[in-house]
Symmetry: C2
Subunit: 192 residues, 2 copies
Amino acid sequence: MTTRERLLDAGLEMLLQHGYNDLGIQALLRATGTPKGSFYHHFQSKEDFALQVIDRYMEEVHRGLELSLEDPGLTPLARARRFFELSREKYRRDGYLGCMLGGLGQELSGVNPTFAAKIEACFSEISCRIASCLEEARRQGEIPQQADPRELANLLLNCWEGAALRSRLLRDPAPLDQMLDFYFSAATRSVG
Amino acid sequence: MTTRERLLDAGLEMLLQHGYNDLGIQALLRATGTPKGSFYHHFQSKEDFALQVIDRYMEEVHRGLELSLEDPGLTPLARARRFFELSREKYRRDGYLGCMLGGLGQELSGVNPTFAAKIEACFSEISCRIASCLEEARRQGEIPQQADPRELANLLLNCWEGAALRSRLLRDPAPLDQMLDFYFSAATRSVG
DNA sequence: TTGAGAATAGACCGGTCAGTCTAGTGAGAA
DNA sequence: TTCTCACTAGACTGACCGGTCTATTCTCAA
């Protein structure tokens, strides 16, 4: 494994726990046994590093989206739900520290437009893919014809992020499950 | 206005925008024209200061809860919605920077148990007061008898926080309104 | 075998951080 | 009038911050 990869790996873990401002380069280097020269050889700056960590985070997210949204054994609505259940499993493995996008978004969007734009773009990507899935659900009659898949997808994602924050505070998955139950029972009942 | 009050006022504004780690004591002092000695006369430490700022934030929240949840001109469900509409107006005045509890919760709960507990306690307080309101809604038949007011209140609050994060990223109130529409139409339709 | 460039290595930089310390000021009590 | 104490004032401390710099080592192509 290359130094760059080691740094990004550690970055995923440490940024999730510490956030951006509480993560020192020094600490990252100590944790990975990397000299400072290597870090600044591979990355322009701390900000550049964090942005690349977000890219790596998004690779995982997209793998999860493919795994769930393209599962032919499930109905479209069940596929959408599956994605968040996969995410919940990832959160469990991480110790219920929530979602890195939510964490960095909250911390940095008040002062750093680069991060704000980056993270909004990530949410937007995810939301779009879920929206096509919900579009399919609408075609198949799982949700009402007059429903707006794009708005429903944003709603689902935003509420999920809220649940993830509460789950981080409590170190407990319950808010995640409750939110999914509520959302999908509301979505199905509305067409029942 | 006393020095202490000036500092807490500025703290409300600056912590919302900058978060905890990006807010320097120096900057706070510069912004308020306060010498350092005064700050450390009134507050034990930066952490102590931030915890007191949260207390002040919660005073506002409780005022909002009283204003809305005890409004006799509205049905119980409408009172609950009113609280979040009031919050939305506050967010607008602040430039759509979201909710301080959500911001500090995300930033600090991974590393600082004191803040994690404090902020979870704040959410819990708010949720409890909304739950009694929803309990009353249940008594009056606005929501199903078998609904759990406490869970519904947590759900509402958590989803709101997610919408607030997205609103902060976009500097736009739309996610807030969409979330409220979805939640309350789901809640009423289920008993239709 | 040698030359070139990528990568490692860590001392070092100026600046800023939270927090301390001592001196001084001002208002109200005695 | 004088004493007291809450409060103001800001210089100062040591640690740590992100980032730079130069020297060295490694890898691999010519």
